[in-house]
């Protein structure tokens, strides 16, 4: 497994206690209601927050292990992290943002072209649309040549159409890359479209039945319960 995660942390309202793993070519979606601990999990995976106990091993390298007291800070974990919004550096152009931590500057141009923002390279973040900003944020994360890409509801602030287009671009991109993606969302449709594996997280724990219960209860989600039994969906624990 490219990624193995065991995390425990006591938060103010919930206790997080999860264990999961992910293959290198997989896009794992963490799904669940707001406040369930999904974002806290990927913040701990990134090193921005410290768990109380557990371990994180990525590509054979231990990023965190409470028993042997290993805790690599975010700077030493080779990962990409796409936040919800507003994390591009406002004093830099889109190109400077994308190239901020780039290993290979030529790759930045290629990525910007792939995401259709090559013509905006000199623009500042506040001059472009939310979708273009998030495309740039993905370029910024990928240009670091990470071993793991974390995405925390990256498209939730965008309109429906842009969100759909970006989902497709992301799915297309994932097919070309051979490291795991961990994607946080509360949108079931988004999860079913993107995921190779789905991990429902409710109140800090993995809840196998959450998707089924939610879809059955909320037909407005536009999905029949049958959809959850599609072969693409494989719950991992």
């Amino acid at each position: 497994m490219a990624l193995q995660v065991v995390l425990k942390k006591k938060l103010e309202y919930i206790d997080i206690d999860v264990s999961f793993s992910c293959e290198a070519d997989s896009l794992l979606v963490l799904i669940g209601p707001s406040g369930g601990g999904k974002s806290s999990i990927i913040r701990m995976m990134s090193g921005l927050d410290k768990p109380d106990a557990g371990s994180i091993v990525c590509n054979g390298k231990t990023w965190y292990d409470s028993e042997s007291r290993i805790f690599l800070p975010p700077q030493k974990r080779r990962l990409g992290y796409v936040f919800q919004d507003y994390t591009l550096f406002p004093h830099l152009s889109l190109y400077e943002n994308a190239a901020f931590a780039a290993v290979d500057k030529k790759e930045v141009d290629r990525l910007m072209e792939f995401f259709g923002i090559g013509h905006l390279r000199e623009q500042r973040p506040h001059k472009v649309s939310g979708g273009e900003r998030q495309r740039c944020a993905i370029c910024q994360a990928l240009a670091r040549e990470p071993q793991l890409l974390l995405l925390d509801e990256p498209f939730s602030a965008l309109d429906v159409i842009t969100r759909r287009v970006l989902r497709e671009e992301l799915k297309h991109l994932k097919q070309k890359l051979s490291y795991p993606f961990v994607y946080v969302t509360h949108d079931i449709g988004e999860a079913l479209f993107l995921a190779d594996e789905i991990l429902p997280v409710v109140d800090g724990k993995i809840d196998k039945g959450w998707m089924q219960r939610t879809i059955t209860r909320e037909p407005s989600a536009g999905l029949s319960p049958k959809a959850t039994r599609e072969p693409r969906l494989s719950l991992v624990y």
């Binding site: 992290y81 936040f83 994390t87 550096f89 931590a101 670091r144």
Partner: protein, 216 residues
């Protein structure tokens, strides 16, 4: 007109502003982001020059910077010579006196920066120091410029503190505000008026600039 004292005032303001920007930036960063017991005590101590009468602050600096004072002895042991009644001495006094004017606007500017920008810099591999230099400073330029303007104007106009620590040695410690006071004492009102007039456009211009910075 006493051009020499105007020059000393200008030199003092430039030196104090330059030094204080370098000294106060890490302090402001520390106060903006660090959490530790006694933080409010430290902050209040650094802001004390705002609340103390300048002559009181000047008196304590006089005692501390004298040959028997802790500061004076430390400076001399480093081979710095005497501090009192020297230009270096009034620079030290102006640094202490203007410290809150540097720290407060910078701290406010640092606190305004979205924490997610810093977190993004960390996950992109930047250390705290590099994040400070490459992300925090460029996004706090208005606050830093406001701090520089306030410190410059405050140092240009300092009087009581400088008089206590530096006296009135022409070309060394006699600044324009002391020269104006002495001119009035000796009934040279025209000279006092002309020297005072020099301050008006400088102060007004800098305040207009600061208003503009606050608007951006």
């Amino acid at each position: 007109m006493d051009y020499l004292s105007l020059f000393v005032s200008f030199k003092l303001a430039v030196v104090t502003t330059s030094l204080l920007m370098i000294l106060a930036a890490p302090l402001a960063y520390f106060l903006a982001y660090a959490r530790f017991p006694g933080k409010s005590l430290l902050e209040a101590m650094l802001n004390l020059p705002l609340a103390l009468p300048p002559t009181v602050l000047g008196f304590y600096l006089l005692v501390m910077m004298g040959p028997m004072g802790m500061g004076g002895r430390m400076w001399e042991s480093l081979g710095g010579g005497p501090l009192l009644f020297t230009f270096t001495g009034i620079v030290v006094a102006a640094l202490v006196y203007s410290m809150p004017f540097a720290i407060q606007p910078m701290k406010a500017a640092f606190e305004k920066i979205d924490r997610r920008l810093m977190e993004n810099a960390y996950v992109l591999g930047l250390s705290r120091l590099k994040t400070f230099i490459r992300v925090i400073i460029p996004n706090s330029l208005n606050g830093i410029a406001a701090a520089a303007i306030l410190v410059f104007l405050h140092s240009m106009g300092a009087f009581g503190v400088l008089l206590m620590v530096g006296g009135s040695i022409p070309g060394e410690t006699k600044v324009a505000s002391i020269a104006i006071y002495e001119a009035v004492e000796t009934m040279k009102y025209t000279e006092a008026a002309l020297m005072s007039l020099c301050f008006i456009p400088v102060s007004y211009g800098f305040l207009l600039l600061m208003n503009r910075l606050n608007r951006d």
